[in-house]
Amino acid sequence: MAKKILNVIESAYRATLEEQDDTIVWLTHAMKGAGADLGVLLRGNAVNYAVKGQDASGLSFGERKQTQPPRLDEDLGKLLPKGVKVMLVQEDVSERGIETSQLIGGVELVARASLPKLFGGYDMVWHW
C-alpha cells in the first residue's frame, strides 16, 4: 500500500507567473498521476490559493504576451476529483480577512490546534 503523504504548502505566489503554475500544486498533480497517495494542507499565505477569482492575466514584456497565466484556484480544485483532500488552516484564512464564501468548493477548513492530530494520520508530512 502506498505511503500516505501530506503536502503542506505555505509559500505563495513564489514563481507562479513564470512557471504558470504553483510548483507544489503542480507537483502534487504529477505525483498523484504517478500513484502517490496524497493530501494537501494549505497554510500561511498559501490559503489564498483557494480564493475564487484570482486573475493574473494580461502580463506582457514588450510584444511578448503571456497566454497561459496561472489559474491557481482551478488547479487546486482539480485535485479534488482525483481524490486529493485539500485542507486549509482555518485561522490562516480568517486572519487574512478571507470569508469562507470566497473559497472554492470542496476544501476543508481545519483548526491550527488540530494539526498534530492531522499529521498523525499520515506516514510522511512534507513542508513545502
Binding site: V8, E10, R43, G44, R112, A113, L115, P116, K117, F119, G120, Y122, D123, M124, V125, W126, H127
Partner: protein
Amino acid sequence: MAKYLLIESRDPFESNDVPYFYELASGLAREGNEVTLFLAQNGVLAARGTKAAALKAVADAGVQILADDFSLRERAIGGGLPAGVKASPLDVVIDQLAEGRKALWH
C-alpha cells in the same frame, strides 16, 4: 505514538512564521509524540537573546531541542545556550531520519 524530527532553519527575528513551528513541536509533544526540534542555519539565532524564552517554552512542553554545532560556531554562539537547548552534530538528523521519524523542514 509517533516520533518526529522538526528542523527549523529560520530565525524568529526575521520570520514571524517561526512561532507556528515551535507551537507545532509543542503540540505534537503534548499529544504524546516524541519530538526533536533541530535548529539549523539561522534557526540557531533563537538560542541567543530575546527569543530564547520561546525555546524554553518548547522545551518545557517536552520537546528535545538540539542546535547544529556548525551553525552555532559559524555565528560565534558559544557556551551558555538556554536551558533545554543542546549543541549537536548534524549527524543526529541522519540518525533520526534512519530511525524513520516523520521529518519536517521549516
